[in-house]
Symmetry: C2
Subunit: 405 residues, 2 copies
């Protein structure tokens, strides 16, 4: 029998580590022949664009480089698998590809959209009585998947965000004049990544002085009052805002483009708030977008995150061999300290197309910061650094082009 | 006798290492009593706001933290010292402060504006026959100071920029659709930092496919033709633009605010080019500003840069003790490989208020990239990483507040 693996959705620092986990576990199994990589997610299955991963990733060095390379070495997609009732042909095409290559298990590394694919495909194979296992491996920097304690990729993104916000706090405090610095953080409709910047508080930092999450209703009046109060207390006020907050009718969030799932790419809230603050207060105001570096800054990835990403990839292979299908592998936390998690399969259906939000219990009364009670949740996820192989003073990457060219 | 040291201009990752160099060298000299830190640059001398650095920085651990902390622990300023003919009082105030505290040497860590202050003050002290030595220590991520091979802070900024652009290149290549990603890089009117992104080419990267520097005239027509050509060759085109390029009459660069020296804060060129590309080509376009992280991302600072920054701070103290004044310490490169530099004093007057530009000989014929001949210049400056002390998964900083509160 052969297996196939694909990566989908937005890149992270950990998604190639999960791919590595799948490969390394599959290599241990004598009756697994070819390990196919599907190029550009499920589209590679549909278009029969597969690569032989045993050929592409040969040496221990290849594996080490893959682990430290951000983004998706197999490419990605935003393809939404239609219902069978809408398009039966695509299900047939997928099945034909699997049959043609004797693929008996398919691993899909992705977010809640990918788990929708896992759910639909596994149900289809059950219905047509075909023994092909479909297992999801979670990934997203947004940490918004249901039924799992956290998602691979999130810890590294959180480490980069907290590290950068701390450095920005140093940078912003040098002049004697008052200032406000607004840092816009990814996370779509969930505030996890913006909230994780509270990790600085564990190191005795006052910054971020204000954190705004999409889980709370945002009011410009309250925001300006908050900023005014902090400006009385601090010379350089650091504000973290999640891209997902909305200004309501008062102002329109600049909207860039919608992807295949109809998601809108959110952007521009930091810049808008910069203008609003500058109009109200005669002080220096700056807004900073950490942009895609949040999901690809593997040079400061969390060792915990990368190790877990590899383990959950391995666990997916074990689960498929145990006969599971239609599942996503999930982390269940046993203890905050010493940090202990177990990996177990949960129904992909419970994750598909759903979002998990930052808990209200960890948001302060004024809805403008995160309580210290959230620290035991966040801190274990950002522990440890990777030892990065460097060349010419720069990290070495496993080149996507090696496979994608 | 006592000495004083101050930091000025925009923050870098290396400016505290230079401060550490001054402190460590001064500690070796028995007849130096107090080491004063002047808070917020020369303004601390004018306002008599000094701190005792032997008290503030006591332990080896303090020193290690200072070395890994970005920005200016003593604060900064953008104060332009007027000519004596315009304002004799400020010269008297400064002299009184030095006399009151028995300060016989003043070290000013900063850029070309600070060297203007070094030049003016040292000339004034010579004129009034006062034996106070004034020595400049260079710093700027822009690398635009004359008479020195490079400036402390530049190597770390270049390492962050190249590392981030490489990660952005991975991130941008995951989807099967064509895309253009525009990365805007600091550097004011000089292209050094944007040009340094060519370091990726040493690692076999094709990106950046296009690099635009303020040293060349920028034409939107040629830019669009270049982008079109690269889109035929590559799926994901990475364009690096220096903030200092101007679109000419065709479009106005968004201008934010002017500092005390009348410099305009440049911004927005990346966003403007994003719009221009999006209008011409029906593809995905994104612009990214690396923003202040370029000057404060000490978690990925260059060990070469930080070590050199400390050494040049030490050398400044040695020079003052040798009777030098009105000088800036400068690097003279002896060899690219093995990389060898010497530190020597040069006239601050030759640096004051001047800019040094990226050499035309290293720009390609089409004026849209950097030749490989520039690599032996850039690569030594980004070599090596700092071992960063971490706590709770984040770098530990020497808190500005310890001194500034």
């Amino acid at each position: 029998m052969n297996i196939a693996v694909a990566q989908s959705g937005g890149p992270t620092c950990a998604i190639n580590a999960s791919l590595l986990g799948v490969i390394k576990e599959a290599l241990k199994v004598p009756h697994i022949g070819t390990i196919y990589g599907s190029v550009n997610g499920i589209e590679g299955i549909i278009n029969d664009h597969l690569v032989d991963l045993k050929t592409a990733i040969r040496t221990n060095e290849d594996m080490e480089l893959l682990r430290q390379t951000p983004s998706t070495v197999l490419g990605s997609c935003r393809y939404k698998l239609p219902e069978e009732s809408e398009n039966a042909d695509v299900y047939k095409t997928i099945t034909e590809c699997f049959d043609r290559h004797d693929i008996k298990a398919f691993f899909y590394i992705g977010g809640n959209d990918s788990m929708d694919t896992v759910n639909k495909l596994s149900k289809y194979f059950k219905k047509i009585k075909k023994d092909i296992k479909v297992i999801g491996v979670p990934k997203t920097i947004d940490n918004d998947l249901c039924e799992t304690d956290h998602t691979p990729g999130f810890g590294s993104a959180a480490k980069y965000v907290a590290t950068s916000v701390q450095e920005i706090a140093r940078d912003s405090s040098v002049y004697s004049i008052k200032s406000v610095t607004i840092v816009e953080i990814m996370g779509r409709h969930a505030g996890w990544l913006a909230a994780s910047s509270c990790a600085l508080h564990a190191n005795g930092e006052e910054a971020p002085h204000l954190i705004y999450l999409p889980e709370c209703e945002f009011s410009i009046d309250r925001f300006l009052r908050d900023v005014g109060e902090k400006l009385e207390q601090y010379k350089a006020v650091i504000v973290v805002v999640s891209e997902g907050i909305t200004l309501g009718n008062a102002a329109e969030t600049e909207v860039h483009q919608a992807d295949g799932f109809g998601h809108l790419a959110l952007s521009g809230i930091g810049k808008q708030l910069e203008k609003i603050v500058a109009e109200r207060f005669s002080i220096k105001v700056r807004s900073i977008e950490l942009n895609v570096m949040q999901r690809c800054a593997s040079h400061i990835s969390s060792r915990t995150d990368i190790n877990e990403a590899e383990k959950i990839g391995s666990a997916a292979v074990v689960a498929a061999l145990n006969g599971e299908t239609g599942k996503m592998m999930a982390f269940r936390r046993i203890l905050d300290m010493p940090y202990t998690v177990v990996i177990e399969p949960i129904d992909a259906e419970k994750v598909a197309n759903k979002e998990r939000f930052f808990p209200k219990k960890w948001i302060n009364y004024d809805q403008n910061n995160v309580k210290d009670e959230a620290l035991p949740y966040f801190l274990p996820l950002i522990q440890g650094e990777q030892i990065i192989k460097m060349q010419n003073g720069l990290p070495v990457h496993y080149k996507v082009g090696n496979i994608l060219d």
